[in-house]
């Protein structure tokens, strides 16, 4: 290691589990008089069934509409206290967070605990129907009305079999959303929204003792519920599938998707590094070759999508005017084959290590919100059962070797087991890779 070697970086915490099964994790940070409240429920679109997709995300919307004792919107009281709040749903979990001035921690916890324990008495059919329409608008705005917005749906639908919950993305299908029944909400809430399936982090300007005292005060009397069974599903990659999607786009774009190991499994960090060294920044191999030197591509991206029960790696490259997807596919294949045969160079590994360390340090600056320290502690607790995984997580990147990165590329980014999607301007199906089969996504 060089003299520039980083000092140890750490994310200290204390964890206790309440009698009802709620995990509570506390992290002190006294720089700014704010506290982050971050609550994860271990439920996402992975817990949905085919034909009923999009439910977990719609449900998240309902959590902001009111609960028995706060029977109107959740934004007004918290914003009036100077707080920020939001939530998000992905395949594996749903998170809710507030960042409040220290004098409003009680309010935030009173509200979070009220919607954990007392959501249903306040939930009306009218609120449900309004949010169902809001979600359909969200889907139109962010997927249907956006260039390439439907590509990921086509890729996961092909990578994962129909009974695998990663076969669909979190927003769900429009038909399923329209068909949702108010009656289904009750069952969903009872199954997934209770202390045994949740994890609470308090991070910020308060003492650890006070944080635990408040967590117990507001959440301690809620009934535990039954921990849902883990979801098991298997996906196996076989052969190369070529797909074609017409879209309102100016330039054709090639997507390649591969099945990869799940989050934190061996190979996951290495594939993350593969994504960086292929496409992140001007030094990245594909950017350098295709965009910088040959100028046959307008942009390139590549990333490991780390998920709880399986991962997938998605690479995308957009053809410059005059370039064909067939040429791009050949160039991409060549770079990946070289990576799989020779592995990364020493400078590539040095850059990756420096960037990983810096990114971990930058994360330490923010207590709340998406990807702040509180969210990170919850990710480690829910996905690893270990909030102290911060250092070990960084070590996954520090300890990666040229050989381990090469092996991951070799094993997972294979030309003979993947989905290759050509997204082409409407009416220009000849731009797709030969042998591509048209798909419809809606």
């Amino acid at each position: 290691m060089t003299a520039d070697r980083a000092p140890l970086i750490d994310l200290p915490y204390t964890k206790r589990t309440l009698d009802n099964g709620l995990d509570v994790i506390v992290h002190e940070d006294h720089h700014v008089p704010i506290v982050a409240v971050n609550l994860w429920y271990h439920v996402g679109s992975k817990n949905e069934q085919p034909g009923r997709t999009g439910f977990a995300h719609l449900f998240e919307h309902l959590m902001f509409e009111g609960s028995e004792h706060q029977n109107s919107g959740y934004f007004a009281p918290l914003q009036a206290a100077g707080g920020q709040l939001n939530g998000s749903t992905n395949a594996d979990r749903t998170n809710y967070w507030e960042v409040v001035p220290t004098n409003a921690v009680d309010l935030a916890l009173w509200m979070e605990s009220d919607r954990m324990g007392f959501l249903l008495p306040a939930l009306t059919k009218e609120r449900f129907e309004t949010q169902r329409d809001v979600v359909l608008n969200e889907r139109r705005q962010n997927y249907e009305n956006r260039p390439y917005g439907l590509a990921l749906m086509a890729i996961v639908a092909s990578l994962f079999p129909p009974d695998h919950p990663y076969n669909w993305i979190t927003i769900g299908s429009a038909d399923d959303i329209r068909a949702m029944k108010f009656e289904d909400v009750r069952e969903f809430f009872r199954t997934y929204y209770h202390p045994s399936n949740a994890s609470l982090v308090l991070a910020g300007d308060m003492t650890t003792d006070r944080a635990f005292e408040l967590a117990d005060r507001y959440f301690g009397d809620l009934p535990p519920g039954v921990k849902p069974a883990p979801v098991h599903a298997v996906a196996t990659a076989e052969g190369e599938r070529r797909l074609l999607l017409e879209d309102r786009v100016e330039r054709p774009r090639l997507y390649i998707g591969w099945l990869t190991p799940p989050m934190y499994a061996p190979g996951d960090a290495e594939l993350d590094l593969c994504g960086d060294l292929l496409a992140n920044g001007k030094t990245a191999r594909l950017y350098r070759t295709l965009v910088y030197e040959r100028r046959v591509a307008l942009d390139v991206s590549a990333a490991q999508q780390s998920r709880e029960i399986a991962g997938y790696f998605v690479l995308a490259v957009t053809a410059a005017p005059g370039a064909s997807l067939t040429d791009l596919a050949a160039a991409v294949d060549e770079e990946i084959a070289r990576l799989a045969a020779e592995g990364p160079t020493t400078p590539e590994m040095e850059r990756a290590e420096a960037q990983a360390e810096a990114n971990f340090v930058y994360h330490l600056q923010t207590v709340g919100g998406f990807d702040g320290k509180s969210d990170q502690l919850n990710a480690y607790n829910v996905m690893r059962g270990d909030p102290g995984f911060f250092g070990k997580d960084l070590d996954r990147y520090r300890l990666a070797t040229p050989e381990s990165v090469r092996d991951a590329a070799q094993r997972y980014l294979r030309p003979d087991r993947r989905v290759v999607l050509s997204v082409v301007p409407r009416g220009q199906t000849a731009e797709a890779l030969p042998g591509s089969e048209p798909v419809t996504v809606s």
């Binding site: 206290a81 309004t130 359909l136 608008n137 009397d221 100016e250 920044g281 810096a358």
Partner: protein, 460 residues
């Protein structure tokens, strides 16, 4: 042993508002004229350097729209013996997070790095800004990527709307184009234009460097002096600060424009007009007024269009602040079938807050509390603080601005909010823009009192 359930009947009261000391800013001027502001910030071992160069896209010469932004993009393409690839490599090796943003009044560069790489980071940034290589082959590539980008965003409804709306409001004023410029103007630019703009605009006397990090003021200043002290002021007259002196033409009536987007699932909407400069003395009441009308989730506009009518995933209003005259606008994306109804409801909200439905004491208290109590949360990271301090420089605001913010906003009254709404918002000269399926929506737009829809092409 059964525990006694918590009495949940009433929300817990808020405690006393916690004290917060806003970051202290020290000002320095280097002998070459560079303005330096330092802030000690200790939350993590990081340093953010932010350089603001006067003259953004508003300084683009006529027929050279997109020049400032292209120059900004050329900066990290090389310096001295370093190629673009070498620069990217050097940034990665210090874990650097480099960003550039071309606004209407200035170009902002920022670099966040680990504190132990402070001098390396500052040297690199100074080299890029003051001695960029500006090579022909890089220029050709960057310009082509921008032209291709323009063609791609033709398909992005929000981007089409932003560009068309600026042109509708400002006409040929220097604020009337997006920083990216347009295909025609980019095609005629040359490397000489880039070099000329750089020489003219990138000068220490017209720039501000902000350093925020876990070091003492003197150490931060030392970093600035070592890296930027050798930056020589070019000869020749410094350009006039933006905005250009011409005032955009005043509209006297409502109008509506329509950009057709075949089979669009939604209509992208913009509704507004030119309203005020960031340096208006009414900034605080305007901020409060906007929060109530459309600046937060619980605003009148979002509650009406999203939560009551379910026309949209979200709707908001904002002032797109500039040193010169800036627009007020409502923006949203609505289900195609709801287009006309959404425009009517949005216009009614803009009208209502001017007096027929004046803000209530409850709304006022809520908006002021949301703006002031949450204010300290914006000072967590070095990058946040650097951005905030750069804004002070951009708008000539005093160093006491942060600590004055809470009392100033707190003093705003309901009468003032109604006054500024009536004074700065004018429903009689609203411009509405629809980017959507003309075949489906055109007829319904006639039912609005905005006159005959003006059909516009997609302009890139």
């Amino acid at each position: 042993m059964a525990r006694v359930p918590l009495d949940r009947s009433a929300a817990p009261a808020l405690g006393p508002v916690p004290a917060f000391t806003f970051p202290g800013i020290e000002r320095h001027v280097l002998p070459n004229g560079l303005k330096v502001r330092t802030v000690e910030h200790t939350s993590a071992p990081v340093l953010t350097l932010a350089v603001q160069v006067e003259g953004g896209s508003g300084a683009d010469p006529a027929a050279q729209e997109g020049l400032a932004s292209l120059v900004a993009d050329m900066v990290d393409e090389g310096t001295g013996s370093l190629s673009a690839i070498d620069v990217s490599d050097a940034l990665s090796r210090i874990g650097g997070d480099y960003d550039v943003d071309t606004g209407p009044d200035a170009i902002g560069f920022s670099l966040t790095t680990l504190a132990r790489f402070a001098d390396r980071g500052a040297d690199l940034l100074a080299g890029l800004l003051t001695r960029p290589s500006l090579r022909e082959s890089d220029f050709a590539r960057i310009r082509q990527l921008r032209i291709d980008r323009l063609r791609q965003i033709k398909d992005v409804a929000s981007a089409v709307a932003e560009r068309a709306f600026l042109r509708l409001l400002y006409g040929r004023h220097p604020y009337g184009h997006a920083p990216l410029g347009n295909e025609e103007s980019l095609r005629v630019l040359s490397l000489d234009d880039v070099a000329g703009f750089h020489t003219l605009m990138f000068r220490p006397s017209q720039s501000t460097l902000v350093l925020v990090g876990g070091m003492r003021h003197a150490e931060l200043l030392g970093v600035a002096e070592r890296a930027f002290g050798g930056w020589a002021e070019p000869s020749g007259q410094a350009p006039v600060r933006t905005p250009a002196s011409t005032i955009p033409p005043e509209l006297t009536m409502r109008r509506i424009a329509l950009v057709h987007r075949e089979a669009a699932a939604q209509s992208e909407l913009r509704i507004g007009h030119l309203a005020a400069s960031r340096r208006t003395p009414d900034y605080a009441p305007l901020l409060v007024m906007n929060a109530i009308l459309g600046g937060q989730f619980t605003s009148r506009v979002n509650m009406k269009l999203r939560e009551e009518k379910a026309y949209t995933y979200g709707a908001r209003t904002s002032f797109d602040w500039k040193r010169g005259l800036a627009p007020f606008a409502l923006s949203t994306s609505v289900h195609t079938a709801s287009t006309a109804a959404a425009i009517a409801d949005a216009s009614a909200e803009i009208e209502g807050i001017r007096g027929s439905r004046p803000v209530t004491e409850h709304e006022l208290a809520h908006a002021k509390a949301a703006l002031t109590r949450g204010y300290p949360a914006g000072f967590e990271t070095a990058a946040q603080v650097a951005r905030a301090v750069s804004q002070l420089a951009l708008y000539d605001l005093p160093d006491t601005y942060f600590s004055d913010f809470v009392p100033t906003v707190g003093a705003v009254t309901a009468a003032e909010v109604t006054r500024v709404a009536a004074q700065y918002l004018d429903p009689a000269r609203l411009t509405a823009l629809v980017v959507g399926d003309a075949q489906v929506v055109a007829d319904s737009l006639h039912t609005l009192s905005f006159g005959e829809p003006l059909q516009l092409p997609v302009q890139m």
